[in-house]
């Protein structure tokens, strides 16, 4: 066997070992929900169950059903609205980037700020604003708050995806007297569908997983979103229940399935945060 092949194999083995470490949390989450409560509190987290049972899922399901529906009600519109309007804004910045660099620099800085700012830092004024507009503790209020951050995020990601369209295509359409609206729907949108999907899936997963906003903006249990509901199943610090594992699985199942099936779009979205990262 030649030395190059041996080197490859060594590298693969190192990569696989590290990847196994990376997968331990996922593995332990998946196996422990199938333990009985006694087994969960008495056997090591890393050991698979001796007796498979779905009793904990049945227990948890009743209380997780509503939050699951709530999360769907919130995350889907947030993802969709953010991405459509975000793409429109990105298109605007793209066509103005040469004519008015100052406008696009400022615009891009602001959407970057909204994307990356520690959103927790808006806590106090956000609650005041939502309270004065009567949005506090409502679906609309949650959607509104998430849009403040995720619509600019979508605009940022789409700003990375739109430049794949050659400028001359847009210019040609404009010379043919197409309105911005027509150019957007007939040229820009169809040519950026992969980027659109990447952005939408990214925003969907991010808003699904957002823990802080539902934590601070809702007070009634009927409005709980899934990451908050899940925390109710932990007995505080370090306590082990089979129920909390099952709740964790239910909380992560949607984003995990999306990640497994459409992971390449999510990764594309993540990559766009740093300029695109083509070829990975």
């Amino acid at each position: 066997m030649n030395s190059r092949l041996i080197k490859y194999i060594i590298l693969e083995i190192i990569a696989i070992i590290i990847a196994i470490f990376w997968l331990i949390p996922l593995y332990s989450m998946l196996i422990n929900g199938f333990k009985t409560n006694f087994e969960a509190t008495a056997t090591p987290v890393l050991f698979p169950p001796k007796v498979f049972t779905i009793s904990s899922y049945i227990t948890v399901w009743g209380e997780m059903k509503r939050p699951l529906i709530n999360s769907i009600i919130i995350a889907i519109p947030v993802a969709f609205i953010s991405t459509i309007f975000g793409e429109m804004a990105a298109y605007f910045f793209y066509v103005t980037s040469e004519r008015m660099p100052a406008v696009s620099n400022t615009g891009f800085s602001i959407i970057s700020l909204a994307t990356f700012i520690p959103y927790q830092a808006t806590l106090l004024p956000l609650i005041e604003l939502e309270a004065s507009w009567g949005l506090f503790n409502s679906y609309q209020g949650l959607i509104f708050a998430l849009l403040i951050f995720y619509m600019p995020t979508a605009a940022l990601l789409m700003s990375i995806f739109i430049p794949v369209i050659p400028k001359y295509l847009i210019e040609a359409a404009r010379i043919d007297k197409a309105s911005d609206w027509t150019v957007f729907w007939k040229v820009v949108f169809p040519l950026t569908i992969p980027g659109f999907l990447a952005t939408m899936i990214f925003v969907f997963i991010e808003s699904w997983n957002n823990f802080f906003m539902p934590l601070v903006l809702t007070s009634s249990p009927s409005l709980r979103l899934i990451p908050v509901a899940e925390r109710a199943f932990t007995g505080g610090y370090g306590t082990l229940y089979n129920d909390s594992y099952a709740a964790a699985v239910i909380a992560s199942i949607v984003p995990l399935v999306v990640f497994i099936i459409l992971g390449r779009y999510f990764i594309k979205g993540l990559a766009a945060l740093g300029g695109g990262a083509k070829g990975v």
Binding site: P25, F85, G86, Q120, L124, M151, P152, V228, E230, R231
Partner: protein, 278 residues
């Protein structure tokens, strides 16, 4: 067409401005009718013990992640670069999956793994390695959170370094091979020196993601009041719920200023390079 986005961005700027205004008052549980106190709240904050440790932990968690995440990302990307495409894609997905799960859930899973009897310590005992008292001593609690952070965010560094490496012209790598450069030489003399972009992006993103950590310390620490894990972000939350409103706003302003100092240069770098392709 940009109006909806501009509207929501405007709301954000308005919130930030409101925060600044509130931070100059002395609004709290004890002073219900707020007065303008200038930088009074800020100087009050600077003398708070919680603020100091919050700032320290924020610095540790973000600078620490940059210090470890970057080299680890380079190391893993360096390995993956030389491996076949399909395998590489799978590995990148594995390193990134923590970002697809809520950090609250991630925190929860790790709390079980940190259980002294049944968690990873059980496995360590099994192979006769010293065990770690994870969440029971201050230092190891910080270490534990740090570990989770690395697990959660290093994938980003891997992604961006790998992208930079793959962006290096293939013929340059082949030229290096023909010039008898081995794998290490190619990594250190060619790939890394030509990956400035990967370094800037992953440093900026690692900083920004770790600086706004909330769910992990909240869940692993069992709430916002765990002193060992208090960061500026959990502290401002804590101040808010204990109704030190202006202090919370002032902390928010400090957090915003620090983040903005990184975000704006990063945005300007990005728009030049990725959008205008200069």
């Amino acid at each position: 067409m940009a109006i909806p986005t501009l509207f929501f961005s405007g709301v954000l700027l308005y919130l930030v401005a409101w925060n600044i205004y509130l931070s100059f008052l002395n609004w709290s549980l004890v002073s219900r009718i707020p007065k303008f106190v200038g930088f009074g709240t800020y100087s009050y904050l600077l003398h708070q013990y919680f603020f100091k440790i919050g700032a320290m932990h924020s610095a540790i968690f973000s600078l620490g992640l940059i210090a470890i995440g970057n080299p680890l990302g380079i190391f893993l990307a360096g390995i993956l670069y030389f491996l076949p495409n399909k395998f590489r894609t799978l590995m990148v997905s594995i390193f990134l999956y923590p970002l697809a799960i809520s950090m609250a859930t991630n925190g929860l899973i790790w709390t079980w793994l940190f259980n002294l009897h049944l968690g990873v310590d059980y496995a360590l005992r099994l192979i006769h390695l010293p065990t770690i008292p994870w969440l029971t001593t201050p230092t190891t609690t910080i270490g534990a959170l740090f570990l989770v952070e690395i697990w959660a965010y290093t994938g980003l560094a891997v992604l961006f370094y790998l992208a930079s490496f793959m962006g290096v012209d293939k013929s340059i790598i082949e030229a290096a091979r023909i010039d008898k450069a081995g794998g290490f030489k190619i990594l250190f003399k060619i790939l890394i020196p030509n990956s400035m972009n990967g370094f800037i992006v992953s440093t900026a993103l690692l900083f920004l993601f770790s600086f706004r950590l909330f769910s992990l310390p909240y869940v692993i620490g069992g709430g916002p009041t765990n002193l060992n894990l208090m960061t500026l972000v959990t502290y401002l939350y804590y101040l808010f719920y204990s109704e030190f409103f202006s202090a919370s706003a002032a902390t928010s302003v400090i957090v915003t200023v620090v983040a903005t100092a990184v975000i704006i240069p990063y945005a300007l770098y990005g728009i030049k390079r990725w959008i205008r392709r200069e």
